[in-house]
């Protein structure tokens, strides 16, 4: 018996080892499509961009030289870059609360109304489905200083409008409002589905406990129960706001005097207008670092507060 046992031991371990290798092979085979795609489409380009950011390559040039951190030093000393960074942060700071607030308010109103819910949902969702660059043209017309709908409407009330997109003080704000208009429908849809998941018994309990006013219900039941959805909406809206580009490109090109310059438009101009690919790559690296850091920080910070179990 001891003999068989002493033989069986090693055999079993060989079998187990072979089994394990097989399992590993199957595992790698299973993930290979994703790995290949991610490498080609995400990691590869990212590594390439990081490499380019240390060169003086220009788009279309046959040769390039490694220049160390020269591009990053230039970036650091470049006032338009700082302007773009501050503007992007401002844009996010306006668009995120605006989108979340408007989306939540619309969702609450739609859920409270007895009829036509599907219609209202669809209408408010339309901007999400539309192409931003096309809609930007429409907004450009609406905000036109003399023939635009906005200023005409203001004129009807005796207010003389301004040239929204050409005024240093309003250009970024106008772009932010367009951003809110485009994004709040998506937030609304998420909030509506979140509202449907709030258990009715909690509202009943709140009513018996004396919290039956609108504000009490919101404070004690609705808003806390929407916590996870809200976190999701905030992260999503923030990352989308951070990559604002189409509307800026179509409507203001970052002007006037960099008043509406944002990171991605800066990146595009440097890389494709001025063909300074190395410099543009450095911008892209900085942009990527900021976005990753923000997302991680948000998820860490908010996640702790909204999941209750």
């Amino acid at each position: 018996m001891s003999l068989t046992a002493s033989i069986q031991g090693p055999i079993r371990s060989i079998v187990r080892r072979r089994h394990r290798t097989e399992e590993a092979t199957v595992g790698w085979l299973a993930v290979s499509p994703a790995v290949i795609l991610l490498t080609c489409l995400l990691f590869g380009p990212a590594v390439a961009v990081i490499l380019f950011s240390f060169t003086d390559w220009q788009l279309g040039a046959a040769t390039f030289h490694f220049v160390g951190t020269e591009n990053f030093a230039a970036l650091w000393a470049d006032p338009p870059f700082w302007k773009a960074l501050v503007n992007t942060c401002l844009y996010v700071a306006i668009v995120v609360p605006g989108t979340v607030g408007l989306g939540l308010a619309t969702a609450l109103l739609i859920e409270a109304s007895p009829g036509l819910r599907g219609f209202y949902r669809a209408v408010h969702f339309l901007p999400v489905m539309s192409t931003m660059s096309a809609m930007a043209v429409v907004w450009g017309t609406m905000l036109h200083p003399s023939i635009g709908l906005v200023n005409r409407a203001l004129a009807a009330f005796g207010v003389s409008g301004i040239n929204w997109l050409r005024d240093e003080h309003t250009a970024l704000l106008a772009l932010a409002l367009i951003g809110i208009w485009q994004g709040f429908g998506f937030a609304m849809v998420l909030f509506v589905s979140g509202l449907k998941a709030v258990p009715q018994q909690l509202y009943d309990a709140a009513a018996v406990d004396g919290a039956d006013g609108l504000l009490d219900r919101l404070r004690i039941v609705t808003l806390p129960m929407l916590g996870p959805v809200t976190m999701f909406v905030i992260i999503l809206t923030a990352s989308r706001a951070f990559e604002v580009f189409d509307s800026v490109r179509v409507l203001t090109q970052g002007g006037p005097n960099y008043a509406s310059e944002v990171l991605l438009n800066r990146l595009y101009s440097e890389s494709f207008d001025y063909l300074r690919t190395g410099y543009g790559a450095a911008l892209a690296v900085v942009y990527l670092a900021i976005v990753i850091a923000l997302t991680l920080a948000q998820a860490r910070f908010i996640e702790r507060r909204v999941h209750y179990s």
């Binding site: 018994q201 009943d204 309990a205 018996v208």
Partner: protein
């Protein structure tokens, strides 16, 4: 003070009637259970008492005061829900404190950040803390006050829900199947805890359940509901001994009451000796109201098809003659044993035989009810 009176309550959802002319008086300090199968309208009735739903017709009064149209918080009732309905983002302390805060603090004082700075806030909060700690101690959850509901077991959540209900000393407790989410052992334990809570608080309890054993063991009086109607209201032993409706007889008692068509007893002397009413169609008896004897003439005979030995009792399943009807007889281990497949005679105690007419209403020896 907290007597509840329901008069002619009607409720329908669309075309479907849910409650049909329900009238019921619940005495002050009484523990009443509403029992019935799911969909019988018992929860709807409870929600109407709570004010969470409006009746289509009829009146509700609590403590002699009509409360129709009054909001739940103005009815002085507390409710415990099947899913406990605790606020998941609040600690146990804040959950229990909530009904006190909404009542004692003004809206401004309840606001976060600003509220605590307003005059009067500290004093009220201090008295609330005392009340919450008292309630928590009574329910043995004092050590859990800083936890969130997600970190508690089912039984602990149930206690917190009870604490939230009792902390403001309501005169009426409404409970909607509060134990059905617990496992069997905990359920039996919580039963006695709830009844002892009732004794200590001395207020009116209305308790909805679909479990007849819960209804029987906990209540002073049981109200049996079916199809939106109240079939019978009475103390548990009355419902068990003298059901006035075949459906009540079937609902109450485990194992179920034996119901055998009258035709089956055509030549049973002991059954025929009971004064059978001419309209009696079904004869029913509890498992302990008959004994098994050796088969004989003039006795209903049958075959033993199953034996359930519970230790203290043995339930013998007997198929009557052609096998179309089976009855369950309770025997004790000390009695004579019958093996599976053996033929036995059935001797029913005629005095404990219940008669029901075609529609399922009690008939025959009904006058004994009045005496009981």
């Amino acid at each position: 003070m907290a007597e509840i009176e329901l008069r002619g309550i009607e409720k329908r959802y669309g075309e479907a009637p849910v409650l049909k002319d329900v009238s019921l008086k619940i005495k002050d300090g009484e523990f009443l259970t509403l029992v019935g199968p799911s969909g019988c309208g018992k929860s709807t009735l409870l929600r109407i008492i709570a004010g969470l739903e409006d009746q289509d017709a009829g009146e509700v009064s609590v403590g002699g005061r009509p409360v129709d149209g009054a909001r739940p918080k103005d009815r002085d009732v507390a409710m415990v829900f099947q899913s406990y309905a605790l606020y998941p983002h609040l600690t146990v302390f804040d959950n229990i404190a909530l009904p006190l805060r909404t009542r004692q603090l003004s809206f401004a004082q309840r606001l976060p950040l600003i509220g605590p700075l307003l005059p009067g806030h500290t004093g009220i909060e201090r008295s609330i803390r005392k009340e919450v700690e008292q309630a928590a101690a009574m329910l043995d959850v004092a050590h859990l006050l800083h936890r969130k509901p997600g970190q508690l077991s089912g039984g602990q959540r149930q206690r917190v829900a009870l604490g939230r209900a009792m902390v403001r000393h309501p005169t009426v407790f409404l409970m909607d199947e509060p134990l059905s989410n617990l496992d069997a052992r905990l359920r039996v334990q919580m039963r006695t805890e709830i009844t002892s809570l009732h004794r200590r608080l001395g207020v009116t309890f209305v308790y909805v359940t679909h479990d007849q054993s819960e209804a029987m063991t906990m209540a002073d009086r049981v109200a049996v509901m079916m199809g939106g109607e109240l079939l019978q209201v009475g103390p548990p032993e009355e419902l068990y001994r003298e059901p006035q409706d075949l459906r009540v007889a079937e609902m109450i008692g485990s194992p179920k009451i034996n119901i055998v068509a009258r035709a089956h007893w055509a030549d049973d002397r002991s059954v025929l000796s009971a004064a059978l009413a001419p309209q009696a169609k079904h004869l029913a008896f509890r498992p302990e109201a008959a004994v098994l004897i050796t088969p004989a003439d003039g006795v209903t005979n049958g075959t033993v098809t199953d034996l359930e030995n519970l230790g203290s009792d043995i339930f013998v399943h007997v198929a009557l003659r052609d096998g179309s009807e089976t009855v369950v007889i309770r025997t004790t281990p000390d009695e004579r044993r019958f093996s599976l497949g053996s033929t036995v005679g059935l001797k029913v105690d005629a005095a404990r035989l219940m008669q029901f007419d075609e529609a399922g209403r009690r008939c025959g020896n009904i006058e004994r009810v009045a005496a009981a």
